[in-house]
Every structure is written in C-alpha cells, then in structure tokens.
C-alpha cells in the first residue's frame, strides 16, 4: 500500500497543495510528528473539508438549544434543570474491515462524545446498511456488526433502544454503521471542551496508548476502498467496554465533585486532536510531554503516540490544586491516569519527547486552518432514466400474495433477531421498546418523556436526494409523534460516496438543502452531525444515505402511550393524514414485486407535515394504537399491528393500490370510539377482530400464516 519512494505526506493521505499550506503556515518544513498531526487533523474525517461550507445551511438557533454543533454533542433544555445531550456518528469503513470491532468501537466513540459533555449516556440507536443477505459475506458483516454493537453496548452498560436497517446491492462492499447516543444531565453538570487558565494541568485518563488505530481517520475513513482493503485491518481499533464503563463512572464522579475545567475525549487523531482542540477552543496553548503518556507497548515513535486511536481515553483539564483529587478518583475507579501537559498562554501547542521539541504548531491551526473545498457539483446523469422508469401498479392486486412477499423481506420482516441481542431495558426507562416506530423513555422522578427515532431512506434519496432527505426528517418526526412526543432536536449523519465525484457532491448538497428545509418547517434545531464521505468501493458509490436521529420530547408523557400490541377485537381502524397519492417511487412494492427502482418520489408540503405531526402527537394521549404508514404501506402497517396484538382485521373495500401506497405523513390508528377528535383528515377503513387479515376485494390471509412469514424473514436468512 505504501512505498518508500512515495513522499511522506502522500503516504499519510495528504495532497501536495495541503502540504504546501502546512509549510506556509509554519514557515518551514514540518517535522515528522507535525506532519502526522496535520495529516490526520486535516483529513476529511476530522476537518469536514469538503462539507463544511455546506453545513452552515443547518439552523440551531431555537431557544431550547444549550449547545449547538461544534462541541462533542448537542445539548437541549428539557426544563426543570434537565438537559439532554445527543450525537450521531458513523463507523462505516472500520466495520467493513473488521465488523465486530468496527461497530463496537463506533459505540464506544459515540458514548464518549456524550459523557464528555457531563451527561450519563442512557441510550444508543443503530442505523445500519448491508448488501443482500444471499451473499454469505453480507451475512458475516451483519452478524459481526450486530454482535459488536451488542458486545460493547451491553457490557458498557448502556441500552440499545432502537435503530433501523436496509439491504441493497450498493452496500455490499461498503456497509454503513451509524450509531446515535443520548444522555441526560442536570444543567450544573454541563462540561465543555475549551481549556482555560494558564498553568492548568492536562491529565490523560483511561486506556494505555498503543499502536492500534494509527491513521484510522486519514487512511480508513477518508479514502475510497478497493478490493483487498481488508489488509487495512491494523488501522481498526480494538474496543474494551469494561475500560469504558470504568471511565464513564470515573468521569461522572469527577463532574459531580466539580474537579474538571474542561474535558475532551480522544477519538480520531488521538492526542493530537484532544490537545489541540482543548487548547485551540480556549484560545490557549499547551505544553505536552509524550514521555508521561502511559503506553501499552515500548518503541512507539512520537508520531505514533500522537496519532494512536487507542480507545477509551479522555483528556481532562484541571486546576493544579485539584490534580491530586483527580488522580484519587481515577485510582478509586481503577483506571490509569497520567499528567501529560500544562495549559499555556499560547498560541503554540508544543509537544516534547525525550527532551526534544518534536512539534511546535499554533494549536488552533490544526482545526481552524484546515482546508475548505467548494467541490464541483453536477446533476447526476442517472436521474432522467430513473425517473422515466415509473413504477407500474396494477388496478387489481392480490393483496395476500403481495403482502407475503413483502413480509418476507428482511428489512420489513421481524427484526427482533437484531434487537433481542441488545440490552434495551437497562436503567428502567424504556416505555416503548424496539420494534415500534420510535422508542420512548421516561425520565424517572419527572413527568417527562423522550422519544427517539433514527431514519434513513437510501433508495428514495437516490431517486431524489432533496425530497428523500426531506421525507426522512418528516418520517422521524412522525415516529416520535406516535409516542406523544413533539420533534425537539435533530442530529444527522450524512453518508455519501466520493466527494470528488461532482454527481456525489450534487446528491450531498441537495440532501442538505432538503433536510435543512424540513427542519425549519418543523422548527427543529440541528444540534450536531457527522459527514461520512468516500463510501465508495471499486469505483461504485453507495446510495446516498443521510440518516437522521430525531429527539422528541413530551411533558407530561402519556400515561399509556400507544403501542402496536394494544389493538383489540372490535376496535375501529382509522387512517389519519394525507390522502393516498399513488406515491410508489422507491416503494417496497416497486422494489420487491416489480424489481424496479424508478420514478420520482412526491414532494411534501411543509404545512401538511406540521399539522399531521402535531395532530398525531395529540392523539397519542387518547388512542391505544398509532402506527406510521411507511415501508410497504397500509397493508404492512396493519399487519404489524395484527402480529403484535394477535388479532386480525376486516377492511372496507379500498382501491387496491392504496394498500401499498407509500404516500408519506399518514398514520393508522385503532380506537374504541366511532370518532377521532382531530382536525386533520381521517377516515374509518375497517375493524380489528378475528384471525384473518381481510383486505375485502383484494383478498385475505390467515393471521398465523402471515405472521410466520414475517417472523422468519430475517431469522431464516441468518441461520
């Protein structure tokens, strides 16, 4: 992969122009350790150099935002002194190279972002993408990723409360692993990353620094993949959830005792990033002594110590008088700690090793002076042909046959093969568990509730990046609304192909625009995000996959929030929201029955979205069942209620295509009354009861037969 005659900066993933910038900035050639630092900090992964100019489109100026984008996690105010911290991040390339550890360390990293803010992490959600499961390699990746998330999340003691999964050909050699985390804290516990106070001490806490993960950010995360790149395995870090569990407890103890001025986790680019960010964010400098870093192995060069991405480490800035107390807390929780630096007036970050000054750079330059690219963007050539390939939907449909095929799809069938491997109950907050539209957590000691939904829609976004991205924002809002929560804050994870391809850049900017617009329509702040480019293997870019993590908030939380398993014999079935509009582009029907991906997804009106979402959140306090109509349309939504409640249904005669139509902003409800108290359009379409799924003139199927197919869809492929 690397050759001795290749210049060092090229080996480190840096361009000639970027190298020239470093020389100009320093006024000299960089030393080896300095070059290592710039190469990582200026990588796509750390610097967002291709996306930064576009991310300003997102707004986060709502009054309940306490901390917006730029810190380790976004923070919002829940009232009565409670705050929530949220963040999402990808670990795509590491998970392809080594699925178990790649996914595990993705969980570890996102949790550190949360407890760096002073919050206790209380939930994790996973949004994952794989190639079709008929390929054993894809089964291996799914198995490994799920076991990695389970192995780390369960052992570190943070429940995994939900997520979503899709399967499509373009993820075969580039799976996606996005992980969102949520934490809660009291407002006086909030900690930020800006170091202050000349003479304050920098203490490295946690795991020993080793040679794992060196170059992870620049080599793995910021370049495309080619056949044989499994050899990049040494760049994947190894996770230790036990060390992280101790680190969480130690850090929360430090915050409770008021012992830290600032703190920063060590993620991509390790010590380089943590020291330069804490110092740079505070407008200070820092003197760092690498000889004091506790190492896992001897013989590491200064550059390796600086670039190591060993997991489960934090850098705390503390007042000198508190240093002894901080070390005592570390001892109590049985973690290692080393005093490695001193905050200086700056602006220089000076790194010493064995008496030599191995790096002397302006601390803020590593972050602030990183290149920004306005890369060219072109409307993709595939679009016209794709839009012309309109879904063909017959007037007469055998709904039983179609439903059975849809239920056998691993992304539609029962996904509890995944969620049952995750501890989703720890902390006794879980009111609505995985398997519903959104998960709902109570906040003990209050009346408040928080709901979360992660959503992505790779194929619809491929057909229209702007509309696709808009719709996932609205869908996530509806998914939290069915629990009674109102959309409150959003984090996004933008997974795209190679940004040097103008068509990919077009997908990216369109998706950003659609997402930002939808958030504005709902008055939802975007409090953080992550961009993952270079999701390209052997020249094929992935389907553009923006993923959102929506936090919903309710106060008070419904006493008995709607659940899928609360439909009963005799309850009437209602559909609420938009009229079916024959919206089949990227629908499950077109993908599975027609084996087609074409047409253009319909646009969505912001006013309609606001009204349907608000009305749904209100209805959640009144009706026993509320379920978003999405993949597979009304038929699949009703079947899911029937399976959970173990009751059939009898529908009135509907146009057959309405059963599988994926027009957004529609909700199905079960209600005991003959009416629904809501201002948005609603129609009664049938009754729950019996043991048959009866679609009137479109046919019928027994509940047990349909449920057996649904239950086995994922399991039978994985065994």
């Amino acid at each position: 992969m690397t050759h001795s005659d290749t210049p060092a900066h090229i080996q480190l993933g840096m361009t000639d122009d970027e190298y020239a910038d470093v020389v100009a900035l320093l006024g000299r050639d960089p030393q080896a350790a300095e070059l290592a630092m710039y190469s990582v900090m200026w990588s796509e992964h750390c610097s967002y150099k291709s996306s930064r100019i576009h991310l300003g489109r997102f707004r986060s100026n709502q009054p309940w935002v306490v901390v917006g984008p730029g810190e380790n996690a976004g923070v919002v105010d829940l009232g009565d002194g409670w705050l929530a911290a949220l963040r999402i991040e990808s670990h795509n390339h590491p998970s392809f190279v080594e699925p178990h550890q790649g996914a595990a360390t993705g969980v570890g990293g996102i949790l550190r972002d949360i407890f760096t803010m002073g919050a206790r992490p209380i939930g994790v959600w996973d949004a994952i993408r794989f190639g079709p499961l008929d390929d054993p390699r894809n089964r291996y990746l799914l198995e490994g990723v799920v076991s990695g998330i389970a192995g780390y999340g369960n052992a570190v003691g943070v429940p995994t409360l939900g997520g979503e999964v899709e399967f499509a050909d373009r993820f075969s050699k580039n799976p996606l692993v996005n992980v969102m985390a949520l934490g809660i804290l009291k407002e006086d516990q909030l900690v930020l990353s800006a170091a202050s106070g000349e003479g304050n001490i920098a203490i490295l806490l946690g795991n020993a620094t080793g040679k794992d993960g060196i170059g992870g950010a620049s080599i793995l995360a910021s370049a495309s993949f080619e056949e044989g790149d499994e050899e990049k395995r040494p760049s994947v870090q190894v996770g230790d959830p036990f060390e992280e569990k101790k680190l969480i407890e130690a850090c929360l103890d430090l915050y409770n005792k008021g012992l830290v001025v600032a703190i920063q986790d060590l993620g991509a680019a390790g010590i380089s990033c943590a020291t330069s960010e804490t110092a740079g964010n505070g407008g200070m400098g820092m003197d760092v002594n690498l000889d004091a870093v506790h190492l896992r192995e001897p013989g590491m060069t200064p550059g390796e110590v600086l670039m190591s991405e060993s997991q489960e480490r934090m850098l705390a800035i503390v007042e000198p008088d508190n240093a002894e107390n901080v070390l005592a807390v570390a001892t109590k929780w049985e973690i290692d700690a080393s005093v490695i630096g001193t905050v200086t007036r700056g602006p220089a970050l000076k790194i010493y090793s064995q008496g030599n000054l191995v790096a002397d750079v302006p601390a803020a330059s590593l972050a602030d002076d990183a290149p920004k690219y306005n890369r060219p963007s072109t409307r993709p050539s595939y679009l016209d042909e794709a839009w012309a390939s309109e879904p063909v939907i017959p007037k007469i449909i055998d709904a039983a046959d179609v439903l059975c095929e849809l239920l056998d799809d691993p992304a539609i069938g029962d996904r509890s093969w995944i969620s049952s491997q995750y501890d989703h109950m720890l902390f006794l907050n879980t009111v609505i568990e995985p398997g519903h539209d959104g998960s709902l957590m109570r906040i003990k000691g209050t009346e408040k509730g928080m709901a979360v939904s992660t959503d992505g829609d790779s194929l619809r976004t491929y057909l229209d990046p702007r509309r696709g991205a808009t719709r996932i924002v609205f869908e996530s809002a509806l998914n939290v609304a069915v629990t009674g929560a109102r959309p409150y804050a959003l984090v996004d994870n933008l997974n795209f192909g190679n940004p040097e391809n103008p068509e990919v850049m077009w997908q990216f900017t369109e998706a950003v625009e659609g997402m930002a617009w939808a958030c504005e329509e709902l008055d939802v702040p975007v409090v953080g995000g992550n961009v993952s480019f270079y999701n390209q293997t052997d020249g094929t870019d992935i389907y553009p996959t923006p993923v959102v993590g929506m936090l919903g908030f309710c106060d008070p939380m419904p006493q008995r929030p709607p659940r899928l398993d609360r439909a009963r014999e005799g309850m009437s079935i209602w559909v609420i929201g938009q009229e079916p509009g024959h919206d089949f582009a990227a629908s499950a029907y077109d993908r599975i029955i027609n084996n087609n991906l074409g047409g253009r997804p319909h646009d969505v009106d912001g006013d309609t979205a606001r009204r349907v979402i608000a009305a749904t959140a209100t209805l959640a306090y009144e009706v026993p069942v509320l379920h978003d109509i999405s993949t597979g349309g009304l038929a699949v939504a009703l079947a899911e209620i029937a399976f959970a409640s173990d009751v059939g249904f009898q529908l009135d005669t509907l146009p057959h295509s309405d059963l599988f139509d994926e027009t957004p902003l529609r909700v199905v409800a079960a209600a005991t009354d003959d009416g629904l108290d809501t201002q948005v359009p609603h129609t009664r379409i049938g009754t729950f009861g019996g043991t048959v799924l009866d679609f009137a003139t479109a046919g019928s199927i027994s509940l047990d037969e349909a449920k057996a197919i649904w239950s086995n869809a994922l399991v039978r492929r994985m065994h």
Partner: protein, 230 residues
C-alpha cells in the same frame, strides 16, 4: 438497616435494583467491591452487569474481589443473599450456589421478556409467591444456560425455585430460551437464604415497563429479612 447492593467494576444494574428495592420499602446501600465490612447490612444483593468485564469467564475474577469473603460469611450465617444474572453467575463461581452458567444454546445474547414458573417458596426469592405462579420477567444474558452435575431436587442441597415455562406454565423446549438444564431459571440453597436467578425481576417492577410481576420476588426478599419482619 439496609440491603447491601454490591458494585463490582463493570456492574451496571445496581441503581435499577436500588430503585426496585425502594418500591418494596427497602433502603439500599451501594457497596464497592473493595469494601470488606458489610456489618451494617441485613441483606445482600449482587446485581447484574459485567463484573470485571466478564473477562476470563463470568464471575471468575469477581469471586476474588475483597467483598466476597464477607458475602460468603453472611450467606453462611443465614442472611438473605440474592444474585441476579451476573450476580447469580458470581455466586455460582464462588461456590456459594451450586452449578454454573454457560453460553446460551444458540450463542447469542438474549434480551427479551420470558415467563418463569415458581417451583418452590422455600427461598428468600419466592417466599411470598405461590407454587405454580407464572411470572413475566425480562432475561438479559449471554451466559444464562444453567448446568449442574448433580440432579437438583426439592429435598437436596439445592432447590429449584424458578423454571422457564410458556405462558400457560408448561415446561416446553420452545419456552426454554437458553438451553438451561431442566429449564432452570433460578435456584436456592437448601436453607433458602441464598438464591440466584438469571432473569431480572427489577426490570418487571412497574406496569409502565411492561410487567410488574417481579415485584412479588422483591416482596419475598423484603419479607425474609428478619428485622423487617419484626
């Protein structure tokens, strides 16, 4: 007088157990694994989690934690001692209860509600329940598969107090989630003061969590503490 809830590095259910104890009127004191004196406690719970990361083997390191000598002393003295999930694994590994917990039959972590049947009321875990009662309680473990080299009976050294069953209370292979020998979900010593179970009763303590069937087990525990009875 309080219940000592032992916290090993890696334990994660200590606050959930503390919450459940409060629901039956018991005070909990979280005790760090390096503590060697539990003199103030009238009962002990080893909660779930991953003590010492479950490294080497579940409970294999935890059994050597300093606190365990005192736990063993109290168990021998007849004080109520309960191990939940990882706590059960530790009690077995320490030889305070018989048998061992090995990897689930299908080698997957299992987190889901299961149903268990009360087999005996001669234990601090089940004293307030009735034989044959079916309880819906979440399971959350990778090594939940109980094995023992002796045949366990109600009149031996160890009694079976809970077995996995279906919703009707029948013992079927399909209702045994992890391959446990004889569908065993929980056991007690012959004296009944030391009990362990794999499911998490603290996760079934309120209807809003999906079930409050775990409450009767904590009520049993509370009723078994002499000072509370008096």
């Amino acid at each position: 007088m309080t219940t000592a809830v032992v916290v090993f590095p890696g334990t994660n259910c200590e606050r959930d157990v503390e919450y459940a104890l409060s629901m039956v009127g018991l005070d909990a004191e979280l005790v760090w694994h390096r503590d060697t004196d539990l003199a103030g406690a009238d009962s002990v719970i080893l909660p779930g989690g991953f003590a010492h990361g479950d490294y080497l083997r579940t409970g294999a390191i935890a059994r050597f934690s300093p606190v365990m000598k005192e736990v063993e002393r109290l168990a021998t003295a007849g004080v109520p001692v309960l191990g939940i999930c990882n706590g059960f694994q530790i009690l077995c590994e320490a030889g305070i209860l018989d048998g061992a917990l090995v990897a689930n039959q299908d080698l997957k972590f299992i987190c889901k509600p299961v149903t268990v049947r009360v087999e005996s009321t001669n234990s601090v875990l089940t004293a307030a329940a009735t034989v044959g009662q079916v309880l819906r309680i979440p399971l959350n473990s990778y090594e939940g598969n109980y094995i023992s080299d002796e045949s366990l009976s109600l009149d031996g050294d160890t009694s079976v107090v809970l077995r996995y069953c279906d919703a009707d209370g029948d013992l079927t292979p399909a209702a045994n989630p992890n391959g446990s020998m004889a569908s065993i979900a929980g056991i007690a010593n012959s004296r009944g003061n030391v009990a362990g179970l794999m499911p998490h009763p603290e996760r079934a303590i309120e209807d809003i969590l999906g079930s409050s069937d775990g409450k009767v087990l904590f009520e049993s525990f509370a009723a078994s503490i002499p000072s509370v009875n008096a």
